[in-house]
Symmetry: C2
Subunit: 293 residues, 2 copies
């Protein structure tokens, strides 16, 4: 069977079933007693376009998405390792800019391996130190669901880039936040935690599945970043589609008993799946999510 | 300036000068008090050809070259993280074979990230635990130079592949040794240590430069792997060219006071550079090294 049929998750499942890869249940994998490691690759034309993303922003983002996985594990980032595949005609100044962007994320780069490739291939490994990793399987009925900050800015920024709309939201798309402090704060007591990379709806589903419970999200309580509603209107999309379905906000979603300073968006109940409420009534995801059929 | 002019080492030097990457002086970089990390990428058409290397061998080799860097740091391997870029038409069975090859190296794979790419891109990060890392700068006049096992088998195997000669040496090229036990044994007391990836001559030069001393190697004492002399004759090359210049043997070279069970190939003196002796007389490297003008 070809990879195009099996898909990445199908492949990883098959590898894990054969014991060839440890099944990664969380954002980062544990090693030694106190460390976690995570790794993500960005490929030109697949994950980014150099005409939309400058080299510096690309470097920052590659670092940030990995640091976000550490944050979701309640880890303190210790080091990044960067593997770069580059066309031979790449300008050295562009690569230096890329590394300057990585450096802006504030975690030291311990190693850099550069090889020649047809197109830009950027793989970052992030190492962090964590004591308690909440994971995804501990959410329980009665837990409150919190997010660390408003959502939707990345989606709105993406639409601005695509439609050529000038807006400060573009920066939110290119420069995801680093929720390391929040992650460490929540990790001590959260029953489950992850970073919102695929959208609140999809990521909540992951916790629901692994924790065997139902996550109920009240759309009115979902905090929407400034300016997102206006962009949603301009691009004729639902604001909740941008805030709950697009993803790439890299805020944290956690199931907790005490919300502390974070925003409650819903709760955990007996049952399964993710339910969205509007004015207290369940709404189908297709009612607001334009990415969903 | 383009990368093709600056080169990988030029680029890394420039990045380190600007503080964007920590200068990697050894095979692996230290992080936290007791850990080392190393990373190497293999790109199809640059580092390997799939018509010479099967998927399983490729997986093994990608793991082995990284484990070798850990061995050179006296580290116990803890985990591998694998980043794969693959054309969409790749057969899933081939990828499973690749991972089976990685598994044969005996270090658990903690994570696997797979993305689509034009050609096969394989980046492995290896994590290990080390107490004392000898590094490259501590060799002193009076030290003996030892290698962990005979050299030249990888070069001979490469020639066999290239010339279509059937020989068990092919396996030595495709399946580099793992000198983890030897690395840990030597790390306690060695003044300098590295793995022979670029050939004894080039790698000895690295220790000479960093330790500010002269390394004197007696060609007659260099242990030659079985069958290498015969292949050297068949391909009209000097046996020492295969054993000291080709590289990819992945044996360890160490500067020590007591050789123990390892083979002495020379010594360390006041001075600089690497000197080769034959019958006690200095010989120019060009006299035996056909890779060198």
């Amino acid at each position: 069977m070809r990879l195009s049929e099996l898909g990445e998750f199908g492949l990883l499942g098959e590898l894990a079933r054969r014991g060839l890869v440890q099944r990664i249940e969380n954002d980062a994998a544990r090693f030694a007693p106190d460390f976690v490691v995570t790794q993500d690759a960005l490929v030109e034309g697949v994950h980014f376009r150099l005409d939309w993303t400058g080299w510096r922003d690309l470097g920052y983002k590659a670092a940030a998405v990995n640091i976000s996985d550490l944050a979701a594990s309640g880890a303190e980032p210790e080091a990044l390792i960067v593997s770069l595949g580059l066309p031979r005609e790449t300008e050295a100044d562009d690569v230096i800019e890329l590394y300057e962007g990585i450096a802006e994320a504030g975690v030291p780069v311990l190693g850099g391996d550069t090889t020649s490739a047809d197109r830009l291939y950027l793989s970052v490994t992030a190492l962090g130190r964590a004591s308690r990793v909440p994971g995804r399987e501990g959410a329980r009925p009665g837990d409150l669901l919190v997010v660390t900050d408003p959502l939707g800015a990345s989606a709105a920024g993406f639409h601005c880039l695509k439609e050529g709309i000038k807006s400060s939201l573009v920066r939110s798309h290119l420069r995801p936040p680093l929720r390391v402090v929040e992650g460490k704060e929540l990790a001590g007591t959260a029953h489950a935690m992850l970073d919102i990379s695929d959208g609140l709806a999809s990521d909540a589903q992951r916790i629901a599945e692994r924790s065997h419970c139902r996550l109920v999200i009240e759309l009115e309580r979902v905090p929407i970043a400034d300016g997102v509603a206006e962009i949603a209107e301009r691009v004729h999309d639902d604001v909740y589609s941008l805030a709950c379905a697009f993803g790439e906000d890299y805020e944290l979603l956690a199931a907790v008993l005490e919300p502390g300073r974070f925003t409650v968006v819903g709760r955990c109940e007996e049952g399964e799946g993710v339910v969205f409420l509007r004015d207290g009534e369940p709404v189908e995801r297709s009612g607001w999510d334009h990415f969903r059929d």
